[in-house]
């Protein structure tokens, strides 16, 4: 029989929560510093959402265009993020990502090559030069397998299918561990650690149409906030322009931007390449005026400007949304993504093998012969835990965050390819930050037992209720509500309605009743995910209410332009007391001022 107190306890120097790219890279760094490292993942090792990344990782190695360098990459990232970025993160990312990619190669990654044997780089939206190191359209798999194999070869403890419920403090309020349960047995386990690195990924599962797996429930975002950290930019959600729309059961599954990078174009039901009608002033000087010019660019970037299909994702997603609303959509409510008429079948199968496979098997569509039907899908959250760029430290001592769970790097909109490089640049920095922090620690820590007991009692409560709600009903309603009220285009009244409804959801979650036992019970697992989903959804809705402008992954129909004052601030959220039902405080936080020499880079070609 399962017991109601922890049956196991483990001690580590560094405890890493999440086993995607950022978590694994942090683990490698901390191990290399000679520390005892434990990794916890709620899935099996190697299944994290990183595996879904397709197109590549952005790094200004200059293998295809020698003109490329970190300064151009920095500029592209800041412009893509509509200048809401933490400039220092964007700077470090642009400077360090080439070394991180070469490092992966030394650990076994096998990237596609240029003719002269260097790592090949591909074009993606918002990047001035071909910059994405890649392996066909399965780059995320290559990244995670390489890091996984490195971590395993270093002999790291990995706790698989173990779900963390809450972070734990010590007597001084520093982070000192976590309480979790094994999914297979339902038994509780506690961890003490001198430092904890959150690398838990995103939040997309709170929307109805998403490219995210069941794991994207914002656990790290929420746990950090409950533990005293601050979340920023939570209104900035990336709706990837190209998700599958049909059949309904696969709606939301990602179609890589690599399709457009490799020559694919978007057309409406009238056959028009409509993106030419949606070039914002900010991007006009660097975007092709005609189809002919755009097509020349694919051959040689000096011979023309980039086609508008390769504008940053927020621009493309909004344009698709507008076309569909104007009645020029495809039969299932998307638009057409056409590479069949533009590239030979052999090229498509070689460059985009998993897209070929995915459409053939799931939709019965041969992408070498027919256009794909696609539409926006909730993909990525730019917002996250506010961290120090150099160390990945949050404001809570002992707590670090890297990857999608951290905020700031991507500003209001992330460029494609900047996520995988973010993971390895800041995963490493989180490992370093944690190791440096531990060196300065003094005294011993005692875990706050009250927090352990509370988390366990809360997790078990749904088993003790005779009558109550099915967690799946709550999840479905939440997804539909967030999609309708805090989706790709928002208005003040809908966002206000969402904030109000989310309070009802809090009550509903406190009335969940579960069937079955604790052993590998997905209903229970969902019940323990829902508090996180609600916390991040509340922050997204509140941020969307307060940012009365449109910027990147946040579009307000009632405030379509940008606002000068809001261009200088993040919207931040904190919660009172390690408690998911606590009241949230939302306020404006000034952005870091950009040093003059970096600002000059942004002015260039503006």
């Amino acid at each position: 029989m399962s017991t109601n107190t922890p049956t196991e306890h483990h001690e580590y120097d560094v405890l890493i929560i999440g086993a995607g790219g950022a978590g694994l890279r942090a683990a490698i760094e901390a191990k290399q510093r000679g520390l005892k490292v434990g990794i916890i993942t709620k899935s099996l090792l190697g299944k994290a959402h990183t595996v879904m990344a397709e197109g590549g990782m952005a790094a200004a190695m200059g293998n295809v265009y020698e003109e490329d360098n970190w300064m151009v990459h920095f500029r592209d990232t800041m412009r893509g993020g509509k200048y809401l970025n933490n400039y220092r993160m964007a700077e470090l990312h642009a400077k360090e990502s080439p070394d991180r990619v070469w490092e992966l190669e030394q650990w076994g990654a096998l990237f596609d090559r240029t003719k002269d044997g260097k790592i090949l780089q591909r074009d993606f939206g918002g990047h001035r030069y071909a910059r994405l190191a890649h392996v066909g359209d399965r780059t995320g798999l290559e990244l995670i397998r390489t890091l996984q194999q490195k971590v395993v070869s270093m002999g790291t403890d990995v706790f698989m299918e173990c779900k963390v419920l809450r972070l734990l403090h010590d007597q001084d309020g520093k982070i000192a561990g976590a309480v979790a349960y094994w999914r297979a047995s339902g038994e509780f386990v506690t961890f003490s650690a001198k430092a904890v690195v959150l690398a838990t990924g995103g939040v997309g599962k709170s929307w109805k149409f998403t490219s995210n797996s069941w794991e994207g429930t914002g656990d790290g975002h929420a746990m950090a906030m409950w533990a005293g950290a601050e979340l920023i930019d939570m209104e900035c959600i990336q709706f990837h322009p190209t998700g599958m729309v049909w059949p309904l059961s696969v709606r939301g599954i990602l179609v890589t931007e690599g399709v457009r990078g490799d020559g694919g174009v978007l057309r409406n039901s009238e056959g028009e390449r409509f993106m030419f009608n949606y070039v914002a002033d900010m991007f006009r000087s660097e975007t092709a005026d005609t189809e002919e010019e755009g097509d020349r660019w694919y051959e040689d970037h000096a011979a023309g400007r980039r086609p508008p299909e390769l504008l940053p994702r927020d621009e493309v997603a909004r344009a698709i949304n507008t076309e569909v609303k104007a009645g020029r959509g495809s039969p299932h409510g998307g638009v057409y993504l056409d590479i069949a008429s533009r590239r030979p079948a052999e090229f498509i199968r070689r460059r985009l093998p998993s897209m070929y496979h995915q459409f053939m098997e799931l939709a019965g569509v041969d992408i070498t012969r027919e256009a794909m039907e696609i539409g926006p899908t909730c993909h990525y959250i730019m917002g996250g835990v506010k961290v120090d760029a150099d160390t990945a430290a949050t404001k809570v001592p002992g707590l670090f965050a890297a990857g999608e769970v951290a905020g700031g790097m991507h500003g209001a909109n992330r460029l494609g390819g900047n996520s995988l490089s973010d993971l390895i640049v800041f995963g490493r920095r989180a490992g370093m930050g944690a190791a440096d922090y531990i060196e300065g620690l003094q005294g011993s820590a005692t875990l706050n037992q009250g927090e352990v007991d509370e988390a366990i009692a809360e997790a078990l409560a749904p088993f003790n209720r005779e009558n109550g709600e099915n967690p799946y009903d709550i999840q479905r309603d939440l997804q539909e509500m967030m999609q309708a009220n805090v989706g790709i285009i928002r208005t003040g009244s809908e966002v206000e309605a969402a904030i109000e409804t989310l309070e009802n959801f809090t009550e509903r979650v406190q009335n969940i009743a579960l069937k079955g036992g604790r052993q590998y019970n997905p209903g229970w697992n969902l019940a323990t995910d829902l508090p996180s989903m609600l916390t991040v959804s509340k922050c997204t809705a509140r941020g969307a209410r307060d940012r009365k402008e449109s910027r990147g992954g946040h579009t307000r129909e009632d405030f379509p332009g940008t606002d000068e004052q809001l261009s200088k601030v993040n919207i931040g959220h904190t919660i009172a007391g390690n408690d998911w039902t606590g009241s949230i405080k939302t306020e404006q936080i000034p952005l870091l001022p950009i040093p003059a020499e970096l600002k000059a880079l942004l002015e260039e070609g503006k």
Binding site: L44, I119, Q519
Partner: protein
Amino acid sequence: MSDVTMRIWRGDSTGGQFENYTLEQNEGEVVLDVIHRIQATEAPDLACRWNCKAGKCGSCAAEINGKPRLMCMTRMKDMPEGPVTVTPMKTFPIIRDLVTDVSFNYAQAEKVPALLPPPMPEGGYRIFQEDVERSQEFRKCIECFMCQDVCHVIRDHEDNKQHYAGPRFFIRYAELEMHPLDTNDRRDLIRKDMGLGYCNITKCCTEVCPEHIKITDNAIIPLKERVVDAHYDPVAWLGRKIRRKTKVSAHDAAVQPAP
């Protein structure tokens, strides 16, 4: 659309039984969609493992009408008339319902000696596309472990797990052996400890691979040639291949038993 009956194995390590769930079908659904609908309504405690739902993570492997498949890539419309039977992978111990304990595979992964590359020159290694392609094929592996599930050597003989790595790890070893940067020599390990000789080349693994990796032809056979050439008799191998039956005992089939 018409209703469908799902016949799902439910239970744990102590035993279990089939339970039937009858529900409406929706257009375009895959088996995993139907399982999810059962979870969301009748059986929130129905255990199944999944992540990406797009054939990229390999989490949702199960046996559908007796054949190992990814539930997320198996369309309901391709199923024959009548109930659809879903059972957990047979080769691994049951945790609950459709979820099995696949730790055997993670234990095997720990035994693999890592890549040992030469120091990287300034500006990165120079490697040509044709030299990365051989290993790239094996790196497509999504670790669904269906090749392990279907391999007779361990499917029918629990004892063999102690000295047999299985097809997933044979392609891993082949990948490293063919890796353009690798300088490690694993041939002795593969021959002595990984049980490569137990594989009798029935190609069941290749047949179930959702990534269409030619496990037998491109990895196992070249690996065998590489590590057992001294002991290896191609005529005997061919004879066994021609005479192969649907089910062969691992011991009968062993080309080169582990010492």
